[in-house]
């Protein structure tokens, strides 16, 4: 019977992942303890979120938010929830409608909870409208065509798209542009980022979506997590430098093999 704990050859990866996890845990602990942490640098685009909601308030039009085609276990969906909570709080405070569309019923259930909670935290639970969290279609283009129609009928003044997007990304961005919405978009899908950059007012690049909720909320735990992730990136940065030097001196050495499984 196989009793090994580690998959043969993957111990190095386990150690690195454990180290990164430890860094995140340590930084969260530090933040919880009230100790000083490095500040998250300014992320262009996030500053515009409050302006976009404010604009929608002035115009008396709703804010639309979507996570694209993300599933409940996709990392960008987790980033979306962070942003959703913040935007829902702003909408509750400014008494602006927030329309949130879905193509995944499990994610929708969590979105309802996040929005309801945000309205309650702002002291306006009565403003929460269950009908504004809408399930449109489980099909990619069924969902896209429904969003197109919704944009024309509801004419949102702000469109915030954070999550997993595929071919519908440009359809959404074009529809938002057509109704004059301020658009803030972000995804980790590099094939769709160019569309957002071309058609939206503000764009979050890749990993910026994960730092977004920490940046917006200034929550110490989320900030600690971002600081820990930065530590992991610095380790990877150092590994690339060392690995490249070693590779040029001794091609395909033990260091290469260590990461080859």
């Amino acid at each position: 019977m196989e009793r090994a704990i580690f998959v043969n050859g993957l111990a190095a990866q386990f150690i690195l992942v454990a180290l990164f996890g430890l860094a995140v845990w340590a930084m969260i602990g530090r933040a919880r303890g009230g100790r000083r942490l490095p500040r998250i640098r300014k992320i262009p685009g996030l500053e515009a979120v409050e302006e976009a909601v404010g604009r929608a308030t002035e115009m008396g039009r709703p804010v639309h938010m979507t996570y694209g085609l993300g599933d409940i276990d996709d990392a960008p969906t987790f980033a979306f929830w962070g942003m959703l909570g913040h935007v829902a709080q702003l909408c509750a405070r400014y008494e602006t409608r927030l329309i949130q569309t879905n193509n995944n019923y499990l994610v929708m259930a969590i979105n309802e909870e996040v929005i309801r909670q945000a309205y309650a935290e702002t002291g306006r639970p009565d403003r929460y409208e269950a009908d504004d969290v809408r399930f449109l279609s489980p099909w990619q283009f069924g969902y896209a065509s429904a969003v197109l129609g919704l944009f024309q009928r509801e004419r949102p003044a702000a469109n915030i798209m954070i999550g997993t997007f595929m071919a519908e990304s440009l359809i959404f961005a074009e529809a938002g542009h057509a109704v004059g919405a301020v658009q803030i978009a972000g995804t980790a899908n590099t094939s769709q980022l160019p569309f957002f950059m071309a058609a939206c007012d503000f764009c979050l690049l890749g990993e910026e979506i994960y730092a977004a909720s920490a940046y917006l909320s200034r929550d110490p735990v989320l900030t600690g997590s971002v600081v820990g992730q930065d530590f992991a990136k610095m380790v990877i940065f150092a590994l690339i430098i060392v690995g490249t030097v070693v590779e040029n001196l001794w091609p395909h050495n033990w260091f290469w093999d260590l990461l080859s499984r």
Binding site: A109, G142, S191
Partner: protein
């Protein structure tokens, strides 16, 4: 024939040829109805939108029944007697507790299980391909021609590629440091180069994607003008 060629042949030739005249008319009308959005939102587009959404929903219901529920009850539980599977099924059903006043909190149980499973799965399986990517960034700067009459001799183009790749990776990574202030010239310049690298990569991706979209549009126009109207031979 590449996969994309095969897809094009399938979508532009084989499928339309297999369609009846009535089906071609329905497809053409649906295409025009969706295209009418370019003009403005109108009742024809709205009809197509509702039909599309309704079809998607109906398809989803049938798929869930046929691919999940039926095999689950008939095969797993009915024939194989795997009654333990009814436990996760019951936990899954708790999601409907959202609609019951006072019991809504029960719906958080399957959701928390699912989110926990998702986070654990990502943590367990995502790092592996990333480590292979990390290893592949260890480029050799001294490159030689891999084949041809100059095989084994110094290849300046390959060396330039390696240097560009290395600089691109390093500076892009520096762009994504969120807790390091871009104050010193090294940090400012490297993140600026990183941003340019990202823009160049996204520009190339944009060009490729636009070409793909144009190809799809051409396919639809070919369908309308050729298969439907018969103006193309």
């Amino acid at each position: 024939m590449t996969p994309s060629d095969a897809l094009e042949v399938l979508s532009n030739h084989l499928v339309p040829m297999a369609m009846t005249r009535a089906q071609i008319w329905v497809a053409a009308m649906a295409t025009l109805a969706i295209f009418s959005y370019v003009w403005r939102e109108n009742p024809v587009f709205r009809l197509a939108e509702y039909v599309f959404v309704a079809l998607a929903t109906a398809n989803g219901v049938v798929m869930v029944y046929d691919s999940y529920l039926k095999p689950f009850f008939v095969l797993d539980v009915g024939q194989q007697g795997r009654y333990a599977l009814l436990i996760p099924f019951a936990v899954g059903l708790l999601i409907y507790a959202r609609s019951i006043r006072g019991l809504g909190w029960l719906s958080r149980l399957p959701m928390s299980l699912w989110v926990g499973y998702g986070a654990g799965y990502v943590l367990a399986w995502s790092p592996q391909p990333l480590f292979v990517q990390l290893r592949d960034t260890f480029v050799r700067f001294y490159q030689t021609y891999p084949d041809g009459p100059l095989a084994g001799r110094f290849w300046p183009g390959g060396t330039v590629n390696s240097v560009l790749f290395f600089v691109g990776v390093i500076t892009t990574l520096m762009y994504f440091f969120f807790t390091v202030e871009r104050r010193g010239p090294a940090m400012r310049w490297s993140s600026a180069v990183g941003r340019w690298t990202i823009m160049l990569a996204l520009g190339a991706a944009f060009g490729t994607a636009v070409q793909g979209r144009m190809s799809l549009l051409i396919g639809r126009i070919q369908f309308l003008l050729g298969t439907w109207l018969g103006w193309l031979r």
